[in-house]
Amino acid sequence: MDMRRHDVSPEDQARYLRRGDYARVTAADRPGVAQPVPEREVPTQPWGKVLLGACVLFALLLGGWEWHWRAFGVRPAYRNDSGLWSIQRARIDNGEGNATVLIGSSRMFMDLQLDVWQKFDGERPIQLAFEGTTPVPFLEDLAADPKFTGRLLVGVAPELFFSGYGFHKDAIAFYHKESPSQRVGQWLSMHLIEPFWAFDDRDFALATVLERQPWWPDRPGKPNRLHVRRLNISGPDRATQLWDKVADDPQYQALARRIWTQDFEPSPDDPPPEKVAKTRDEQIDHVVKAVATLRARGVKVLFVRPPSAGPYLAYDDRLFPRAQAWDVLLAKSGVPGIYFSDYPELSDFDPPEWSHLKLADARKFTAALHAIVVRDYWKPDAPK
């Protein structure tokens, strides 16, 4: 580059410079000329000592933060986000299309224990259920993937399944568009961060923690709402269980119940019944189409309604009564289903916060469910 041609001469400076009260001259002050090499001064400071001091204080703060969460009962676990889900979803497209796949919401996610299923079945299922999320879009995603030819267990949590609500719906698009950078980041996080740091969970993110503090006043017409807390812990292949704090800490359990209770009473913000019914029917129509595609490819599909109890069960039944939702789903899709209350061995549980089973119960539930599935639906000697 010929610097003579683009250096700003003193004449040009005088002619073009409109410095005003700006502390540093930029291209904004030099119209219509070649812009010179910028200058970036480093403020005079003992930067070595500053950096050392910052590192020490940072380490202390981080250590204190980690200690705080461990004292709260948190242990390192894997972040259950789109990146982790995508690794499991990719297994179907990378040679395991014939596997048993689980989709559903949090009950399917926490109540079905992969190791127990593997013990009885000989095959570890691929866990694709997501908490707070309807499985219907996931069902459609699998239907659109010709590589999936295995068996599909679909968890039905009525409140989510028939309303179409999806906290984690974005995971599907994330998987199909995941960039190399995101894949590398996921690998790094799973090997350098998640197995070692307890605080690394979206439930303990700074803004979330601040938002949950009790000191915020209620705004008239918009009282503060309690948001769902951490309920589960996951392993690297999304094998997931209810966090033992929910089962063992009465205060935390009471908080979890209080959070669910907020939804149980009818609210003026609830959609009108006719809209709820319309959405339910639309969801069932989506399922019917997806299931037809899957079955045409030889995929075996089975619906499962895992247990809920107490006020949560009453809420489920009020919102989407079995006769108007579950029964219609089975009838229209032609797919068999297992409803927990039809089987004593699936009903004899006491979920700590009315919705999810503690680990010991989840293991019993999985064993009982597997026995029913192979006895009545997927016989071991039958072709897939």
Partner: protein, 471 residues
């Protein structure tokens, strides 16, 4: 890859190590060039081809410009560069927009036309590197600079990863000379560069993504109709979010370049303390506004061909500047509003040429500027005009069916953060960050640095893309 990701941390550490190995300068530049291609292709590898096309076309166009003996040949080389660059930009960024508008136009004329669906994916940062490479041929065409002497320096200017995808939009004369001599950051440059990166990431990960973005989303991306408090809170949150997001990116980019021993220009000068809109545009996204001024406004006639031509050039520049941000009429409206503000300011400045505002008037005018800028952000943030009008009606307090949307935590956090940003901008109005840091006690700098770094880690950013990547 995005700066706020673990991938970038590992990538940058590796680049720094190789850059500081005792290798020949050419090999260290090759390292930076290859690293920049890796940085770009980490999003979507095939799109690196577009970057190569843009690089090669402008390299040969500039060579042709210098060798051309006739003026018509110079025009031809310049046009080749402009058409190739804007053609790619037009296809990838505005293809669907143009087709949709063409179909709408035909529909209005009573002709039924349904264009075939085109799923055109926007290559990240195409608007930024297109403008950077265009400035190379245009500077040569305008005889402001000679072409680079070797292809490596030129390719590195186009591709250098700190500025590649979201600026600051570099001019060749700012960066190519820096590649001519061996460069390595001094220990203090490296440390201060890391401090700048921490500050930039704090702005992005903590303020923009963790606290401000959710407030804007609750109102702008929801069906609920906002009242005055919610509409203003969401709009102020977005004004803070977009500043922290974009200035955060620029600061991180400047810090990353400094860690490698290179200097990049300021892109922001505390814009929410601007008094008037010409002042605002000399403080906000400086490298874009000066690019538009040098390569669009001045060639259109600037202010040297009478009042009418000046206003026409001003409006054209701002409308196209709006469209540069996104293929939507809402961005054109945003640019149009800024053009109108600038035009009104020009009229007022000529009418009251002798008036000099006192300190109080300066603050009042500054607050008026900030308020009017916030109104333009409504069109920038809203995805449709319907949504923009709903929010504007809310800001005016005329939404009859409005219900409270935001809980008190969100209202308070917006008030604290955006209030803090505005106060900080006024304090820094005629200062630089460096001058303030130079006067601070080292213990205070270390403490603030540690707190910012801790907040970044504790915020657990989700690796959300920077807003300006979509442009």
């Amino acid at each position: 890859m995005v700066f706020n990701s673990l991938t970038f941390v590992a990538f940058f550490a590796l680049v720094l190590v190789v850059h500081n190995l005792p290798l020949a300068w050419t090999w260290r530049k090759v390292n930076l060039l290859l690293a920049s291609y890796v940085f770009y292709s980490a999003w979507n590898p095939p799109f690196v081809i577009l970057l190569w096309i843009s690089t090669v076309v402008d390299w040969y166009a500039a060579q042709g410009l210098v060798k051309a003996r006739r003026e018509s040949a110079r025009h031809a080389w310049m046009l080749l560069s402009v058409i190739a660059n804007l053609g790619m930009l037009g296809y990838f960024k505005y293809g669907n927009f143009l087709l949709d508008n063409f179909a709408a136009l035909l529909h209005a004329a009573g002709i039924a036309y349904q264009p075939a669906a085109h799923d055109i994916v926007l290559p990240v940062g195409i608007s930024f590197y297109t403008f950077a490479t265009l400035s190379y041929t245009l500077d040569v065409y305008l005889r402001r600079a000679l072409p680079a002497e070797n292809f490596l320096d030129y390719a590195l200017f186009v591709t250098f990863f700190p500025h590649l995808v979201a600026g600051p939009i570099m001019r060749p004369t700012e960066l190519v000379p820096q590649f001519e001599q061996p460069r390595r950051a001094s220990a203090d440059q490296l440390r201060f560069g890391l401090a700048l990166m921490t500050l930039g990431l704090f702005n992005k990960v903590v303020l923009a993504d963790s606290f401000l973005a959710p407030v804007a989303e609750h109102v702008y991306d929801a069906q609920a109709i906002p009242g005055a408090l919610d509409a203003w809170a969401a709009t102020l949150a977005f004004s803070g979010q977009i500043f922290c997001d974009f200035a955060g990116y620029s600061t991180t980019a400047i810090g990353a370049a400094l860690c490698l021993g290179f200097a990049m220009p300021d892109n922001f000068r505390f814009p929410y303390a601007a008094v008037g809109f010409s002042d605002f545009w000399r403080r906000w996204h400086i490298t874009l506004s000066s690019w538009l001024r040098d390569y669009l406004y001045i060639p259109l006639g600037g202010n040297r061909h009478g009042e009418r031509r000046t206003y026409a050039a001003l409006m054209t520049t701002m409308l196209l500047g709006g469209l540069w941000h996104g293929a939507s009429w809402t961005f054109v409206a945003w640019g149009g509003l800024h053009g109108a503000y600038l035009a009104v300011e020009r009229v007022l400045r000529s009418r009251f040429a002798k008036w000099r505002p006192g300190p109080l008037a300066l603050i009042v005018l500054g607050l008026l500027t900030w308020t009017l800028v916030n109104i333009t952000w409504v069109f920038f943030r809203a995805k449709t005009f319907d949504k923009a009008w709903t929010v504007l009606r809310g800001m005016a307090g005329t939404n009859a069916q409005a219900k409270p949307i935001l809980e008190s935590f969100y209202l308070i956090s917006v008030a604290v953060i955006v209030g803090g940003i505005v106060l900080a901008h006024w304090f820094m109005r005629a200062r630089t960050l460096e001058s303030v840091v130079a006067r601070a006690h080292p213990a205070a700098i270390g403490t603030v640095w540690a707190l910012l770094a801790f907040a970044i880690v504790a915020a657990q950013g989700s690796g959300a893309a920077f807003i300006y990547f979509q442009f």
